[in-house]
């Protein structure tokens, strides 16, 4: 466990929920402290690589109290430390600050989370869908979205010969 990192985080942001599973450390950070905490992790603790940004929808999950768990996987490429940072989010406030200023690699990963879960990243330079068509309105990886969709797959404009 990254004791020094956790200690520094706790000194600055108060008591944080920290857990460990098979050698990987996970810490839950409040939404308001996210940008400051990530900035500190990058500049002072050497987490120079954002490995992944993804999200979990905990709707109907056993014992879950929050709807979405936004997950940031960080890595230190010098000493191979890894850290998982989670932010719990609830509707209707699904806006978090974008990490693009810290790690440019966050660009497409945050767009994918927006596309699939509808988490809004404030300050993202190119906040568009990345996989689904732009006119798509739903967020398909949310648990309340049916697997077969709501008919979008068959209801979009047909191209006529004159347009081709």
């Amino acid at each position: 466990m990254n004791e020094a990192v956790i200690k520094a985080l706790r000194e600055r942001f108060g008591e944080l929920v920290v857990s460990e599973f098979r050698g990987s450390t996970r810490v839950i950070i409040g939404k308001d402290a996210l940008l400051a905490a990530m900035s500190m992790l990058k500049t002072q603790h050497g987490f120079d690589m954002l490995v992944d940004v993804t999200c979990v929808d905990y709707l109907n999950y056993r014992d879950a109290t929050d709807r979405f768990g936004l997950v940031y996987l960080l890595a230190n490429t010098v000493n191979s430390d890894r850290l998982t940072v989670r932010v719990m989010l609830n509707e209707p406030d699904l806006t978090v600050p974008s990490m693009f200023e810290l790690w440019e690699g966050a660009d497409w990963m945050e767009r994918e989370v927006w596309d699939m879960f509808g988490i809004h990243f404030e300050g993202h330079p190119d906040h568009r869908r990345i996989l689904m068509p732009q006119e798509f309105t739903a967020f398909p990886l949310r648990k309340d979205y049916p697997l077969q969709g709501r008919g979008e797959r068959h209801n979009f404009p047909v191209i006529r010969r004159a347009q081709a």
Binding site: P140, G151, E152, R153, P157, I159, R161, A164
Partner: protein, 191 residues
């Protein structure tokens, strides 16, 4: 009055001659999006040798093709591309839906995969299989050749009829299991 025909002369109709030319020089447009495309390549390669049936000239420009072979699943983001390529092909043109995914969506019964391209473009031959063997595709081309021999005239006016140009289209799809009342097509159209 009987006419004495010299050797090697056959009497036929001009329409049948035109159809005979059409069916033996199909130029396929490979719309290969998944593993069926690998079988499609094998069909065109030397072992299975599609050239025996006059259909080996794969062209990657729709303007030069008259047979579209849709091989693989088509997602809703890809479908406008498929439609545009189909519309850009000149009449007379035919379409083979190769494999379970192109014909019905296959195992991909999800929100983004089109459940059968025949909802959007007219399909002449369906090839079952996941993926189909090259022999199955060759059989589909042979059957399509029979179909071409039976339809069409030398002027080809019937290919430009509005009915043939219009694609079949399912405006409202079957209700999603357990979600029967949630979806209304009118909402989507006015969104």
């Amino acid at each position: 009055m009987a006419i004495e025909l010299p050797e090697n002369v056959v009497v036929s109709k001009l329409d049948e001659l035109a159809n005979w030319c059409r069916k033996n020089s199909l130029w396929p447009m490979p719309f290969a999006t998944a593993c069926c495309g690998i079988e499609l390549m094998a069909t065109g390669a030397s072992r299975h040798d599609l050239a025996r049936f006059g259909a080996e000239v794969f062209r990657f420009s729709p303007r030069q093709c008259d047979l579209m072979i849709v091989a693989g699943r088509v997602v809703m983001k890809m479908l406008p591309v498929l439609q545009r390529i189909w519309q850009q092909m000149h009449e007379p043109k035919w379409c083979i839906s190769m494999g379970a995914c192109a014909s019905t969506g296959g195992v991909f019964d999800t929100y983004c995969v089109v459940q059968g391209i025949d909802r959007f473009i007219p399909v002449d031959m369906y090839v079952p299989g996941c993926p189909p063997r090259p022999e199955q595709l060759i059989q589909a081309i042979i059957d399509l050749q029979d179909k071409i021999q039976r339809e069409g005239t030398i002027m080809g006016d019937e290919f430009n009829l509005p009915g043939r140009q219009q694609a079949k289209r399912a405006l409202v799809e079957l209700p999603v299991l357990g979600q029967a009342s949630e979806f209304r097509a009118a909402d989507l159209l006015h969104r």
